[in-house]
């Protein structure tokens, strides 16, 4: 009988601490499946950043280093430069990657650091209680934009994938989501591609996932999962750049 389901080797057998309806756990699992399938568990270093996902090491069974807030791409640079044989991924939220760490993120991308950056975009600061983030939608209410994000005051949502796609050092740039079964399957393919790009040494691979935060959006899990479609109106789900499919094989 063909095997249709298996607990990933790289996923630790423990319960997730994430809130009901949060998408982190789905993405964690997909990440572990990809690590298993590519057979890279024994040479992968994950970077946990600051935010809800700082406890990445409770769930993902690879060597993990905790990076200071926003600095994962710089820490990843240090690792990859010192040990190019290791596989490096960062796992960051929109606050970590695109607010406090935007400088580190953009420069690592621009240098074409051969690492994979995963950015979970849920438009709010989850861990600190739902404050405004660079990716908060226009007129979206957060605890620090109680009257809604006003473009005159807080400016406009920052579209990171759109920026990075234009960088020469970026070999892969895509935005996905996990709010429908179809998108979950797509998301896994994107993850796999991002790591393949790194394994071939093609350059920086960036993968953004639109993700639900029911607690801070003040929604039930089902509404929050549906609301991700609303996010996709501002942040289109698509592959912006994929040098592997464009025929580039080796760096």
């Amino acid at each position: 009988m063909p095997e249709v389901f298996r607990f990933p080797k790289s996923l630790k057998k423990t319960l997730f601490h994430y809130c009901p309806g949060c998408h982190h756990s789905i993405i964690h699992r997909l990440l572990c499946e990809v690590i298993d399938e590519l057979g890279i568990r024994e040479r992968t270093i994950g970077l946990a950043s600051i935010g809800c996902s700082c406890f990445l090491y409770f769930y993902i069974d690879v060597d993990i280093l905790e990076a200071p807030h926003g600095r994962s791409c710089s820490v990843g640079t240090g690792i990859k430069r010192a040990r190019p044989d290791l596989v490096v991924f960062t796992y960051q939220g929109d606050g970590d990657f695109a607010a406090i760490g935007l400088g580190d993120s953009l420069h690592a991308a621009s240098r074409g650091e051969n690492i994979t950056a995963i950015m979970i975009n849920n438009t709010v600061y989850g861990m600190t209680g739902g404050q405004v983030s660079p990716t908060t939608l226009l007129f979206q209410k957060t605890t620090t934009t109680p009257y809604g994000r006003d473009p005159k005051k807080e400016g406009y949502p920052l579209k990171v994938a759109e920026i990075l796609a234009g960088f020469e050092g970026v070999a892969f740039c895509a935005r996905g989501a996990v709010n429908t079964p179809q998108r979950v399957l797509e998301a896994k393919k994107l993850l796999r591609r991002a790591f393949e790009i790194q394994l071939r040494g093609l350059g920086f691979s960036y993968l953004e996932f639109l993700s639900a935060c029911p607690i801070n959006w003040k929604m039930d899990p089902i509404s929050a999962t549906r609301y991700v479609d609303k996010l996709a109106e501002t942040f289109p789900i698509k592959v912006f750049k994929d040098q592997l499919s464009e025929g580039k094989n080796e760096a």
């Binding site: 568990r41 024994e42 040479r43 992968t44 270093i45 946990a48 700082c54 090491y57 069974d61 690879v62 060597d63 993990i64 280093l65 905790e66 990076a67 200071p68 600095r71 710089s74 820490v75 990843g76 640079t77 240090g78 690792i79 990859k80 430069r81 010192a82 040990r83 290791l86 400088g103 580190d104 420069h107």
Partner: protein, 360 residues
Amino acid sequence: MMAKKVLVKGVEAIALGALEGGCQCYFGYPITPQNEIPEIMAIELPKRGGVFLQAESETSAINMVLGASAVGARVMTSSSSPGISLMSEGFSYLIALELPCVVVNVMRGGPGLGGIEASQGDYFQAVKAPGHGDGRFLVLAPYSCSEAYQLTAKAFELADKYRNPVMILSDAILGQMKEPLLLKSLKIKTYPKEDWALTGAMGRPSRVIKSLFLDSKELAERNLRLKRKYRAMEKEIRYEAIFSGEERVIAVAFGSIARICKEAVLNLREKGYEVGFFRPITLFPFPGKALLNMAERSLGKVSLVVFELNCGQMIEDVKLSLCGKAEAISRYYPPSILPFPEDIEKELKKCLKSSGFPKV
């Protein structure tokens, strides 16, 4: 082969010492007066299969250091005062994660943008609180090119030994002055890193290097363990002293101003004055016991005069060390006001003359 003798700046001696110490990776951001260090590393490291990368800021540079250290590389950065402040968050993480690295601070005048003249204004920052939280650096203060070379090489060994950052605290004068340097090959120990570095979970359980401890008991235990480590570092205490027991006044100084003081003290001793000299080489741990010892071994009443290129910082450590057994006086020179040996001689003579002058 005979060791080569070269005429080099202090900062060049630091870079050469780092290479001798087995430095494999350098990450940094340019700032005066230490740019020769990254420039030399940019030439030399690639030749040796090492890594040089100029980061987009000091903040990212120190985090690159953090990453390289976590996977077991011998790694360093260098900067000057304002850049060191920018790195301080990273310093705290490095201490907390127990990651070895070497950090060079060629101090310039502050606060703020300050100036590029010699200063020792970052003494407190280096020895008391390199970052937030309860962490310390092992701090070495060379006062010549050959000491800069030797101590920088040694710093890599000490960093690995204690799994803690080690700082080389220098200044613009020592950094820019040229002196002959004998390029001796040094015996720098290495320590195995397989039992803690992140190298991929091959043939062993996966490993986590982290500094978040939400369980308060766990955090307290970790900090007490770090404290024991700082205690253990006392084995590394180094200092230079000119003292016989008959001195009535002892000049205490580190780094560049220690050279000026030493000149003054040697001149005065030649003329028969009862003056001594004490130079801490490790600033943390501070050679306080040696200072107290001197005070206790003195045949008569002794005063210690602390000369610094700041508005009085090390004086506090000297006072604490003396436990009230001797008087400690501060003579301070903020940036731009560099004393000549003659000025120091005058100060020391004044102190010799009057035993009852006001304490600072």
